[in-house]
C-alpha cells in the first residue's frame, strides 16, 4: 500500500514536466510550429532530426566537446582562484581593498564580445585565448560571493575568536574560510554556464577549426547541416549539466553541515 502511494506520488510529481516536454517536442515534431509560426523545417529542425544528428555524429561531437571542455574547466578554476584570493585580500584589508571589489564587478560586466577579440590578439594559440576569456568572466562572481562568505559573520562568532585570542591567520583558517565554502559553491555553480558560454563565444572568434563553438557557427552556415548545429548545442548543455551535477555532489560531501543541504526538494 505504502509502496503504491510512493509510486503514485512520483507520478504526480513527474507528470506535469513530462507532459509539457512531450507537448513542446510534439508541437515542433508534427510540424505545427512551422505552420503556426511560419518557420521553415530547415531553420528549426524537428527534434527527431536533432536526435539522429547527435547519434550519427557522436564521435565528432565528443571530439569537439573535449576541445571545449578543457579551456572551460581550466579557465573556471584559475578564474575562481583569482577571484577567491582577491576576496581574501579585500577581507583582510577592507579599507584599501574596497575599491577592488568594484573593479571586479566592473570587469564582470564587460561583454564577452569585447573580451574574445582582445584575447585573440594577445594569444596566437586558441587554447590560451579561450582560457583567458573564461578566467576574466569567472573572477567577478567568485570575488563577490566569497567576500560575502568571508566577511558576513555573526558578531558572536568573531567574539569567540577574540575570546580565544586568535591571530588574524587563525580567524581565516578556523572561521572565515570554512564559513565561505557554501558561497564558493554558489559562485562555482553560477560560473559553469558563464564559462561554457565564454569558451563557445571565444571559439566563434578564434581561427581554430574545432570545438563546439566553431562547429555551431560552421554547421549553421551550411544549409543542410542545421540539425547538427542543434546537436552541438545539446552537447554543450549536457556538459554544463554534468559539471553542475559534479559540483552539487562535491558540495554535498564538503558542506553537508550547511543549511542549503537540508532543505527538502
Amino acid at each position: 500500500m505504502k509502496r503504491r502511494s510512493v509510486v503514485s506520488g512520483m507520478m504526480v510529481k513527474l507528470a506535469p514536466p513530462v507532459a509539457f516536454g512531450v507537448f513542446v517536442v510534439g508541437f515542433i515534431q508534427l510540424g505545427l510550429a512551422y505552420t503556426l509560426l511560419n518557420f521553415k523545417p530547415m531553420q528549426l529542425p524537428p527534434p527527431s532530426a536533432v536526435a539522429s544528428a547527435f547519434i550519427e555524429n557522436f564521435q565528432a561531437i565528443a571530439r569537439d566537446s573535449l576541445v571545449t571542455v578543457g579551456p572551460t574547466l581550466a579557465g573556471m578554476i584559475v578564474g575562481s582562484l583569482i577571484g577567491y584570493l582577491t576576496a581574501v585580500f579585500i577581507t583582510r584589508f577592507p579599507k584599501g581593498g574596497f575599491g577592488l571589489l568594484y573593479i571586479m564587478i566592473a570587469i564582470n560586466s564587460v561583454p564577452i564580445v569585447a573580451l574574445a577579440p582582445i584575447m585573440n590578439r594577445w594569444f596566437t594559440q586558441p587554447f590560451p585565448a579561450k582560457v583567458s576569456v573564461v578566467i576574466i568572466i569567472s573572477m567577478g562572481a567568485m570575488a563577490v560571493n566569497a567576500f560575502r562568505g568571508l566577511s558576513d559573520l555573526p558578531d558572536e562568532s568573531r567574539h569567540l575568536m577574540r575570546a580565544c585570542d586568535a591571530s588574524n591567520m587563525e580567524v581565516f583558517t578556523k572561521l572565515r574560510i570554512p564559513a565561505s565554502l557554501p558561497y564558493v559553491f554558489t559562485a562555482l555553480k553560477i560560473n559553469v554556464s558563464v564559462a561554457m558560454m565564454g569558451t563557445i563565444i571565444g571559439e566563434y572568434f578564434n581561427d581554430n577549426t574545432s570545438g563546439i563553438g566553431y562547429m555551431i557557427k560552421y554547421t549553421l552556415r551550411i544549409g543542410n547541416r542545421k540539425a547538427e548545429g542543434w546537436a552541438y548545442i545539446l552537447a554543450a548543455a549536457i556538459i554544463s549539466i554534468l559539471i553542475y551535477a559534479a559540483l552539487t555532489l562535491a558540495q554535498r560531501r564538503l558542506v553537508r553541515w550547511h543549511a542549503s543541504q537540508r532543505m527538502g526538494a
Partner: protein, 267 residues
C-alpha cells in the same frame, strides 16, 4: 560619513591605478619589448581615448543603438520573467511543469543560440531584442521565485488570518518582501542583456557597437575604432549594472528594508 569617504577614495585610487597599469603595460609592450603588434595588442590608454574622441559621433550612435535594443529586450524579459514567477508561485502545476526546464535551460549556452535565432527571424533588431529578453528572463524568474518561496511562514499565516485575497497577499507581503530578490536577478540580467545585444551586432556587419568590433577585427576600414568600441561595449555593461543599482536605491526609498546587522563593532 568619514568611512564612506574612505571607501570612495579607495575606489578612485583603484580605478586610477587600473588605467596607470594599462598605460604602463602598453609602454612595456611598445617601448621595452618592441612588440611589432603592440598597437594592436594593447595600445596606450591615452591613444584609445583620443581615438574615441575622434570617433565620438559614431561610437555614441552605435552604442545607443545597441543599448536601446538591449533595454527593450531587458524590459520584455523582466516582465515575462516576473509573470512566470508569479504563475509558478500561484499554481503548483505551472511550477512543476516549468521549473525543471527553467533550471536545465540555464545550462544552455544561450548566446550560442544567437546565430540560430538570427537565422529564424532574419531581422537584426528583433534578434537583439529576443536574445536580450531571453537572457534576462531566466535570472529574473528564478530570483523572484526564490523570493516568493522564502516569505516567512508565520508572515504567511498572519495574512491568512486576515482572510487576505491572493491579490492582497502579493501586494502587501510577497511582492515587497521579494523586491531585493527581484533586483538580484535584474543585476545579473542587465549586463547579460547588453552582452546579448552586442553579440547579435557581430552576426551582421550592419550596425551596433558589436559590428564595429567585428569589422575592425577582420581588417575593415575602421581598425582604429576597435579599442574605442571595446571600451564602449565594456562601459555599456558596467553602466547597465550601475543603473539597476540606482533603480534599486530609488525603490528602497518607498519599500525600505531592514539594514544588515552592523558588522565590525569590535573586530
Amino acid at each position: 560619513m568619514k568611512r564612506i569617504d574612505g571607501r570612495h577614495l579607495s575606489l578612485i585610487l583603484w580605478i586610477v591605478g587600473f588605467f596607470l597599469m594599462w598605460e604602463f603595460a602598453a609602454f612595456l609592450l611598445d617601448g621595452v619589448l618592441h612588440d611589432p603588434m603592440a598597437a594592436k595588442k594593447l595600445p596606450y590608454f591615452h591613444a584609445v581615448i583620443s581615438e574615441t574622441v575622434l570617433n565620438a559621433d559614431n561610437i555614441l550612435l552605435q552604442s545607443a543603438l545597441t543599448a536601446l535594443r538591449a533595454a527593450e529586450g531587458f524590459l520584455i524579459g523582466a516582465l515575462v520573467g516576473f509573470l512566470l514567477a508569479l504563475l509558478m508561485d500561484l499554481f503548483g502545476v505551472v511550477e512543476r511543469m516549468a521549473l525543471p526546464y527553467l533550471l536545465a535551460s540555464q545550462m544552455i549556452p544561450i548566446l550560442g543560440l544567437a546565430p540560430i535565432i538570427f537565422g529564424l527571424v532574419k531581422d537584426l533588431d528583433m534578434s537583439r531584442v529576443t536574445i536580450a529578453a531571453y537572457m534576462t528572463f531566466f535570472p529574473v524568474s528564478l530570483s523572484l521565485l526564490s523570493g516568493f518561496k522564502s516569505v516567512d511562514i508565520e508572515q504567511r499565516m498572519l495574512m491568512r488570518s486576515y482572510a487576505s485575497s491572493k491579490f492582497l497577499y502579493y501586494r502587501k507581503l510577497a511582492l515587497p518582501y521579494s523586491v531585493p530578490f527581484l533586483f538580484n536577478g535584474l543585476k545579473i540580467a542587465a549586463p547579460m542583456a547588453m552582452t546579448a545585444s552586442a553579440f547579435v551586432d557581430t552576426l551582421s556587419t550592419q550596425n551596433g557597437i558589436g559590428s564595429i568590433i567585428i569589422v575592425a577585427l577582420y581588417g575593415g576600414g575602421t581598425t582604429g575604432q576597435f579599442w574605442p568600441a571595446v571600451l564602449a561595449a565594456s562601459l555599456l555593461g558596467i553602466v547597465s549594472y550601475v543603473l539597476v543599482i540606482l533603480a534599486e536605491r530609488v525603490v528602497e526609498r518607498f519599500i525600505p528594508r531592514a539594514p544588515k546587522e552592523a558588522a565590525g563593532e569590535a573586530a
